[in-house]
Point group: C3
Chain length 346, copies 3
């Protein structure tokens, strides 16, 4: 199994509050996210890996977690997930505490770890390094090539920064320079200009690595109704001649739209990440329209090693509930082989 | 169990046509709404309460209903629903026939009955009472305080009057007066001006009572694609500092969007009312993303005592199908305790 | 059972590539659509009709198909579908190869075959015949009356040509002439002008035959987020006085919206076509809000005789899973009687 989109995880000791906060996409003002379906899924799948019965209480679970220590817990949970490769989005950087980096994830999991480079992070680094407006396009192109030397894919968070309702056309060099001028004069920082965000997507098509696209739900920074992947339909058509695979991540609650896009555009794929952990009852709906050759697995795990195991276990359970014929062949395709082919991962 | 949003019910004798009309959100030109899933649900749950076998025909059911008489039927059905409190939206006023008022509902049900005040009704009453444009804001504020003296919540039907796609910002006093001037010059009446509707919402935040918001389906007066609760996302964020709970009612077919909003905004809650009676197969989807602390029950029953029982029975059945662990604790939260906390109901 | 919307089918020998291409709404650059849920459904339902075990491999199935020959295969599959009438959209014309025409379909199926006339095709034929701008409206009205002399319904592909987000009002004669002038000066051809498309819809209301409306998914020529049938809500209201039934075809992934429209508008109906073959797990959701008197069956089969059988078999299976009471009566309504009444088919 290949987990084609995930994040860093903590290697700190966690109390109930910090553990609860990492179970969710929400900010947690007074709401316990231990009372939440994804948290119940943790209680279903994870306690046995720490020698407790399934559905052990969180009190018992966190006590056992502390007893074993974060390194042993991470090692056990990641290995129990049974993944042979992890593709890690390095653009979401932990702000404090001890976290596992790429090498740490590789050591804990025993899996091959490869990097997914976030386009907006590269652009913001280029701005921070003092690029001029006129030089921005070239500097970004060069920085992207450098940053992705060993990467397996790039990722866009256009849905967070603007919404997927953008002009699908490649922006002119003049428009890019003018937009960069506005952004850099304002001091750079968080990139939200739609022309520049669009330039990043087109640059990624030029680069040729697969593009992972955040679509659907996430944290409250995005406007949900502008994250419907069908809003970007014309761009998938425009991108088709490049041959670059475009992977729609998450998708929920627009996963049926995503399935149709994967059905009709040869260059579009869907990935169950995040939905597989937070809205697993919806998983069967990914299988309504998307060909089995176009479906990919990821956990989108962030923060907690538990989420790697929950994602993998729930995806396997859903496949086994759902597939009535050719189950082995289809399972192999959607858990492993499609990812190898799409991401060119040996 | 607390039924946190419902309406008045009839105490008249009903023939098949008038009974069928009250089973539905539709106007019924020649279509029998006895041939409709919610009507089948009535046949599943209600006949035994009137001493008939489940799934008795409507002919038999209506004959028995007439035999017992509306008062006995209402008493039996409301008590069978097993609710300890009813929060009644008094803004939808029956036009003719004998209906149970708040005291009548309390006597028939044996439950505590409290009022939910419809914002637009208060504003229209203020206009009808002859408010001036310059005095409208103050007159509304004062009338709202007076009208809600004993109320448990307020309700907005913005979705019916304009759509949820409004500017989320608090309107300036100048804008409110100008809009009131236009409305009052036109003779007042049905309030549809988006600036005034927005003023009502902001006034409710100032008042401090929980706000129930119609979202998703209802009768044909609303434009469905403008009732998606995610269209109002920026307003939930703007409302957060007030601490006022905002309860998204109904939600279907945008209930997954609503679940995400309840997940990421501490001040947003979801309520299964109307969906629980008319689209109960979708109930499980409310439990995908919303924390159990953010889910509320109501029937949205209107007209027929049957709908109180159908809602309660279908919600309990769905919980029992859906919950695999901590079922008692979660059931208590979503049927009763969350409503007590959110609505400050002792 | 009446299949109220379908298309022509091939009578040519098919290899795996051409068979796979006809299993899907997609163009198939390198993606095998034999690895796709609807293709698995073919393997479930069709091999036994060709004397093979259910779930036979496609290799075996296609070999047997070739052995029997297209005419025998078409005859067996169409008859196994068990339909008494086929309403055929004649606007989608096969470009090459041997295909069954209306008479061929009737002979192969043993069913009554009637025509559904595509509005846009009639308009394009009028343009090709040299209509003037000033004469276009009258020429179209006359051509439509002529073309529908024996037809059972008309069909609009507005969703493909513009999107359902149009002005609902009847266009003025002046506006129609001006729009026709622009279109005809540009050489006619594929009609995409929203004023003219709207004129076609209003002309159909004048004609009085039921109108089938493409909504929801289809091939990539449509923009999915503009095919939501709720975008056309005001037009259903405007059309109501005409008494003309409006049938929303396909609908997925907006079928819940369609169900609500059928619930609240007496003149609106929903049809499960295409969804029944390509996204059958969603079928139950059609039954959430639509009265049983407003639901219609079609396969939307195109190209392959298999799709007639898959649609019919999956619809019957879904009804039998879903209906717990009055199953015979409701099944008769949604498979046959509603279509007889709506389409005036004896």
């Amino acid at each position: 199994m290949i987990d084609a989109h995930c994040h860093f995880i903590t290697a700190s000791l966690l109390d109930a509050v910090s553990f609860g906060a990492l179970c969710t996409e929400a900010s947690t003002h007074g709401v316990s996210y231990l009372d939440y379906p994804a948290a119940l899924a943790i209680r279903r799948w994870c306690p046995p890996v720490l020698d407790l019965p399934a559905f052990a209480s969180f009190d018992d679970y966190l006590a056992r977690r502390a007893e074993l220590g974060p390194d042993e817990v991470n090692r056990r949970l990641l290995r129990a997930a049974g993944v042979e490769a992890l593709f890690v989005d390095t653009g979401l950087r932990p702000s404090s505490g001890r976290w596992l980096d790429l090498d740490g994830l590789a050591a804990a999991s025993g899996a091959v770890v490869r990097e997914v480079v976030r386009l907006e992070t590269v652009a913001e680094d280029v701005a921070a390094a003092g690029a001029s407006a006129a030089g921005f396009a070239a500097a970004f192109t060069s920085a992207l090539a450098e940053a992705t030397r060993d990467a397996v894919a790039v990722k866009s968070v256009l849905a967070y920064r603007h919404g997927l309702d953008i002009d699908p056309a490649r922006p002119t060099p003049y428009a890019v320079t003018a937009a960069a001028d506005g952004w850099l004069r304002a001091g750079g920082g968080r990139l939200t200009d739609p022309t520049l965000l669009r330039f990043l997507l087109w640059s990624a098509l030029d680069l040729g690595l697969p593009i992972q696209l955040h679509t659907g739900f996430g944290d409250r920074d995005l406007r949900l109704h502008r994250s419907d992947p069908s809003l970007l339909q014309e761009w998938y058509a425009a991108a088709e001649p490049s041959g670059v695979p475009i992977v729609l991540l998450h998708c929920y609650p627009y996963h049926r739209q995503a399935g149709w896009l994967a059905h009709v555009y040869p260059n579009v794929y869907v990935d169950v990440g995040l939905t597989v952990t937070h809205a697993s009852p919806a998983l069967g709906e990914f299988f309504e329209l998307a060909p089995f050759t176009k479906l990919l697995y990821s956990s989108d795990a962030y923060g907690l090693a538990e989420l790697f195991l929950v994602g993998a276990a729930q995806f396997r359970a859903a496949l086994s509930d759902w597939l009535t014929i050719d189950a082995d062949r289809i399972t192999a395709a959607v858990t492993t082989e499609n990812a190898r082919r799409v991401y060119g991962h040996a």
